[in-house]
Symmetry: C2
Subunit: 118 residues, 2 copies
DNA sequence: TCAATTGTTCAATGACCATTGAAATGAATG
DNA sequence: CATTCATTTCAATGGTCATTGAACAATTGA
């Protein structure tokens, strides 16, 4: 009879990040920033590209930032946002972790998707 | 002056999948199924392991299934759920796609997280 | 200093979501 | 055929989230 853990902090953290990405606007923001690379992009340009109101974008950026998925640095009167690569790597890792202890075929099946991307 | 696309079906689809994973209970369910491998696991055992009411689990399973992240097959009076590997691979791929056209350092930064998992 | 630019915060609204208990389905067993 | 078992569906509840307009900083340049 094993003890039941029905509350795991690591799950909550990873779920919060995935939930942050689980919104059309935020996903577009994130992918736009991924494509922009480490230099990032100011909020205004981001709003124009994604096609969303500035105040609305601002709250979405806060969600992504609180999840640790993006970082911000001020530059003049702009604020430049960029992806945090470590966080997204860790999140993906957590999502599929434990898939290879006993079931290596799972990770093999995942490879094509990754190769297509990178 | 480029045309603004502020509604992309691909984004909506991927966001729906990430949103499905962006809930602590559903994330635990998904990872439990990943660990279970292709054979999957009946709903009852899943409910016991994750520590959630059966009717509640049922609705969460529906969300994951509508996102295409898991599949179900009946077996006797049980219903056995298992992960759909193609979907999760495609979702991860979409998440980080376009990161290497001009910014290969992004994908290089992602690799360690994947290796840790697999 | 005045005004324009760049973003954020706030409050309010409506919409969506998770959870619960009770009832219902559907398959196996006696 | 009635019963048990495994799971789902339903309705109702409270809670959280996205969006909008208006007001508020903070920075730059005339």
């Amino acid at each position: 009879m094993t003890i039941e853990m029905n509350d795991n902090p690591a799950d909550d953290e990873a779920a919060a990040r995935l939930s942050a990405l689980g919104h059309p606007t935020r996903l577009r923001v994130f992918r736009t920033l991924i494509a922009a690379g480490p230099d990032g992009m100011p909020a205004g340009e981001l709003a124009a590209r994604v096609g969303v109101a500035k105040n609305n974008l601002s709250s979405h950026l806060n969600v992504l930032r609180q999840g640790g998925l993006i970082v911000m640095r001020p530059s003049g009167r702009s604020r430049i946002y960029a992806v945090d690569l470590d966080t997204i790597a860790a999140t993906i890792g957590y999502l599929v972790s434990d898939c290879c202890q006993g079931h290596p075929e799972v990770c093999e099946a995942l490879s094509p998707g990754m190769e297509r991307a990178c």
